[in-house]
């Protein structure tokens, strides 16, 4: 089976040196480590928002970055969905428009809005469709951001500390939602967090990060919840 993500990259930013190699199968993989370990930088490299100094990145069997061959597929063509820490919903657009803009698989405003509405229903935000992001609470914003991240039929979803700006109660509620929606939609996902409880609750695989290196990986024991579809998760540092 083709891995959802294969990555072996290095990137120097000032004094900080990121040098990681990892493979992600289906389900939810969590990059876990302290702040400044290089987790979010890894997501930016996967998304193509930053170019690595060397290495390759493959999403669903398609090479999207190959520094040796100077191959850099643009962010737009990587078929990824992203959920940011503070949502980053466009403030001048309604909630439904924010989600509809991300819909790639269909043309026409009405069809896009129909897809967007169905995703809003799946995240329990259907009642927010006509509101502006400025009038939403933090939890509501992240629900909409999750719908937007998934609405474009992505090959891979990247979640960059999506719950870190929320209070404890909302965070607990959204953890269940995120895991449920990601698993039911069968989209492989990579989530970044520095919260151990969150990593345990959300991840099928937890990949440890520290000082720009992968320190190890382990499969989370889940007797009931669905785990990775097949294949053992692999993660190797190149330190």
């Amino acid at each position: 089976m083709t891995a959802a993500l294969e990555l072996a990259v290095a990137r120097q930013i000032g004094e900080f040196n990121l040098d990681v190699a990892l493979t992600v199968e289906s389900g939810m993989s969590v990059l876990f480590g302290p702040s400044g370990a290089g987790k979010s930088l890894t997501l930016a490299l996967i998304a193509g928002l930053i170019r690595p100094d060397s290495g390759t990145i493959t999403i669903n069997g398609h090479v999207v970055t190959d520094c040796a061959r100077r191959t850099y597929v643009s962010t737009q063509k990587r078929r990824i969905g992203m959920v940011f820490q503070d949502g980053l919903l466009l403030p001048h657009r309604s909630v439904i428009d924010n989600v509809a803009l991300a819909v790639r698989q269909t043309r026409g405003r009405r069809a896009r809005r129909a897809v967007a509405r169905s995703w809003l229903e799946r995240v329990g935000a259907e009642g927010l469709a006509d509101r502006r992001p400025g009038s939403l609470s933090g939890g509501q914003r992240q629900r909409v951001a999750l719908a937007r991240g998934l609405a474009g039929d992505p090959a891979l979803v990247l979640l960059d500390e999506p719950l870190s700006a929320l209070d404890a109660e909302v965070r607990r509620e959204l953890r269940k939602l995120i895991r449920g929606v990601i698993i039911s939609s069968s989209v492989p996902a990579v989530l970044v967090t520095h919260d151990a409880e969150e990593a345990e609750e959300l991840g099928d695989v937890i990949i440890g990060y520290n000082r720009g290196r992968v320190t190890g990986a382990r499969v989370v024991d889940r007797p009931v919840c669905p785990g990775p579809a097949s294949g053992a998760p692999e993660s190797t540092g190149r330190a």
Binding site: Q76, G81, F84, H92, L101, G152
Partner: protein
């Protein structure tokens, strides 16, 4: 519909106040020596601002988002009219538009006549004078947009041109609109460049030139009225710009 014969070449333009019947203007007590120059000023400034808003915003976007060499030099060159006396700008325009050379040849083949001492000449002078305001406001506003919104849009698969139209420009809209309003104000108030390029021919007289003529010929009553009208327009413009900063963002 009343029209205004503008310029020494007999170039005809329909005035803005042509949209309003003369009887209304007379009933309102607005004399021809006010609404004539006012219509020329408004008409020229609107045309100049339309050009400046589109081109200035596009160039501002390129300067803010592009990573090509010489950006600083380009911005400086287009901003020169801010620092130069308007008469100097007018002299350069006069020698280029009116003197022998490729610019004049292009004008003749495009418009059928040179642009000096015409209404279009006024518009060209106002474009050059007001362009830096729109350019600098737009560039600053576009540079100030949080790049993470654009990154989010890229992750959503939006092509670059849609990101510009749907994300960057709406988020920079207050600065862009303020730049266009400032450019309109600058175009409306231009005296030096307009005077040198278009002179003071009858029916091609803008408000500032009409005021100058009134003072020159000792019509102090008319000068006071013309000054008051310009004061009111300038106040309205600046008040509008200040309101832009106070409205709820979204």
């Amino acid at each position: 519909m009343p029209g205004a014969c503008v310029g020494g070449t007999g170039e005809h333009r329909t005035s803005v106040t042509g949209l309003v019947p003369h009887s209304w203007l007379n009933a309102l007590g607005i004399p021809p020596w006010v609404w004539g120059p006012l219509s020329v000023s408004l008409h020229a400034a609107i045309e100049a601002t339309l050009v400046v808003a589109v081109v200035g915003c596009a160039l501002g976007f390129l300067l803010a988002k592009g990573s090509f060499p010489g950006r600083g030099a380009i911005e400086t060159a287009f901003s020169l009219p801010m620092a130069l006396p308007p008469t100097v700008v007018g002299w350069y325009l006069l020698t280029q538009l009116g003197g022998p050379g490729p610019v004049r040849s292009a004008e003749v083949s495009l418009f059928g006549h040179p642009l000096t001492f015409t209404f279009t000449g006024i518009v060209v002078a106002q474009i050059v004078e007001s362009f830096p305001y729109c350019l600098r406001f737009s560039r600053a506003a576009i540079s100030g947009v949080d790049a993470r919104f654009e990154q989010a849009a890229r992750a959503m698969g939006l092509p670059q041109w849609r990101i510009a139209l749907l994300v960057t420009l709406p988020l920079a809209r207050r600065g862009v609109v303020a730049g266009a309003v400032m450019a309109f104000g600058r175009a409306l108030g231009d005296f030096g460049a307009t005077m040198i390029v278009a002179g003071s021919v009858p029916m091609a007289t803008t408000m500032p030139i009409a005021l100058y003529n009134a003072v020159f010929f000792g019509s102090h009553g008319q000068a006071m009225v013309l000054a008051l009208v310009q004061l009111a327009v300038a106040f309205g413009l600046l008040f509008g710009v200040s309101r832009l900063g106070k409205v709820r963002p979204w």
